[in-house]
């Protein structure tokens, strides 16, 4: 396991994607009552998955951009907004847990490296 290998880069980019998704979901929730607002979302899972499937190198993974896309699925209310507060809250909870999961994996890797470097488990 190298210090800055593919796994480490993928974890870092996933963390960035989750942080961006957090901002986007917060924006959707803040605009829950704004007339005409279209909810946004970012599919960082899909972008990372296809990049890894293509056998990208760590530098290629670093070049990957995540962009917020308008999401037209779901019903539109009479005031023109398609923000469904239940969906946003569920996505928020899921995103928080994913972020914490990625952090845990990063910590575990660091522990392993530490054990290898210091010779103490």
């Amino acid at each position: 396991m190298e210090l800055f290998d593919l796994t480490q880069t993928a974890l870092e980019r996933a963390l960035e994607g989750a942080a961006l998704r957090q901002r986007i979901l917060s924006s959707n929730i803040a605009n829950a009552n704004t007339p005409g607002f279209r909810r946004l979302d970012v599919d960082f899972h899909g972008a990372l998955a296809s990049a890894l499937e293509r056998d990208s190198s760590p530098s290629e993974l670093r070049e990957l951009t995540f962009s917020a896309e308008p999401d037209a699925s779901g019903p539109t209310r009479a005031d023109g907004s398609n923000v469904d507060i239940e969906r946003e809250m569920a996505a928020l909870a899921e995103n928080s847990l994913e972020y914490q999961g990625i952090i845990s994996v990063m910590r575990a890797r660091l522990r392993m490296l530490e054990a290898a470097i210091t010779g103490r488990a």
């Binding site: 901002r23 917060s26 929730i29 803040a30 605009n31 910590r107």
Partner: protein
């Protein structure tokens, strides 16, 4: 990185302003002598998406565009004993319906709670990311 907190704070501020306006409408529901001598006119809050300076579009949060008077006409109620009754005994009362205001109040307060939850979730995530180095 702390944009998520700022965005949720803008949501909370907007919903709080809505609650203030609803409180004003409710307290003036029977005011026959408003600022210009006419019955009180119900106020509404118009929200719009805030565009941040320099950040990615769509991630500015929300802002209050304006507080506008509701143009619907006042209610005419027959009450000849009222001091402001006209010659036929009708009084013009404000166009405030307590039912509509209460529904708006519930919506605003649930939206406020949702923004608080989003802010707490973001705060937890940031605190956890400091744990990487612990």
């Amino acid at each position: 990185m702390f944009d998520a907190l700022r965005i949720s704070a803008s949501g909370m501020a907007a919903e709080r302003l809505r609650m203030d306006v609803i409180a004003e409408n409710l307290s003036n529901a029977s005011t026959t002598q408003g600022a210009n001598g006419l019955p009180y006119q119900r106020k509404e809050v118009v929200l719009r998406e805030a565009t941040p300076q320099g950040a990615e579009s769509g991630l500015g949060g929300v802002e209050v565009a304006a507080i506008v008077p509701d143009p619907s006409p006042p209610r005419r109620v027959y009450d000849p004993g009222h001091p402001d009754a006209d010659t036929q005994g009708y009084v013009l009362l404000p166009n405030v319906s307590p039912i509509v205001e209460m529904v708006d109040l519930i919506t605003a307060s649930r939206a406020y709670e949702a923004n608080v939850t989003a802010m707490n979730a973001a705060k937890q995530m940031f605190l956890r990311s400091f744990d990487i180095l612990r």
